[in-house]
Amino acid sequence: MAKISIQTVDFDAAAESALLSAGRADIGALVSFIGLCRDEGGTLAALELEHYPGMAEDELERLVSEAQQRWDLKGITIIHRYGKIAPGEQIVLVIAASSHRGDAFAAADFLMDYLKSRAPFWKKEHRKDGTSGEWVEAKDADEASLKRWET
């Protein structure tokens, strides 16, 4: 079972974790990752996240299916925000639940790696000096990170 949400509003990681494990005794490990908006040395006013509605949900579903085939997972939650996000605010939440920590850690790591380079989201910087900054460029390191999962 998986929960996938693409939304403008903030999320509560603790509440999402509680929701995932509520009424269950088969989950032994729950790994959560929260991605936050950095201020880039104090120069950033906000990040604007654009996404491809429809495809973003479909792509996250495909990544979740892939993770479920690779590891023994009891539950997955992915929440990704879009719109304007201020420094310090939360952008993304990934929670992976499993019987044991190994699978939960690996699945959360895998999902974040693929989400960064395969889910159709783009970030634009808005600078504090009022200029509309640049679109954030994809990093070679992110693409290289995907190679870790090729079997």
Partner: protein
């Protein structure tokens, strides 16, 4: 048959619109050929597609490669490398 083209991030900004209907000529058979065809339309499209190999595409909301055939596509998207997370 006409196809809906959709653009995101700086591809959208450079072209100046988010989507349009387009009827690819018969000799345009792949994503790569469509990019080359669009790039030749005018300066805005040329600017959007100037780094053609760098541009990512999706057909009917699934990632596609530049050699993927476009036959039967309803919606083709063009965008820069993704920066989610």
């Amino acid at each position: 048959m006409s196809v809906k083209l959709v653009y995101f991030a700086w591809v959208r900004e450079r072209i100046g619109k988010a989507d349009e209907l387009f009827e690819p000529p018969a000799n345009v058979k792949t994503i790569g050929e469509l990019i080359a065809h669009l790039a030749a339309r005018d300066e805005a499209y040329a600017y959007a597609f100037e780094r053609a190999p760098f541009i990512r595409a999706a057909i009917d909301r699934k990632h596609a490669k530049h050699d993927t055939p476009i036959l039967g596509a309803h919606e083709i998207a063009f965008f820069p490398p993704m920066t989610g997370g």
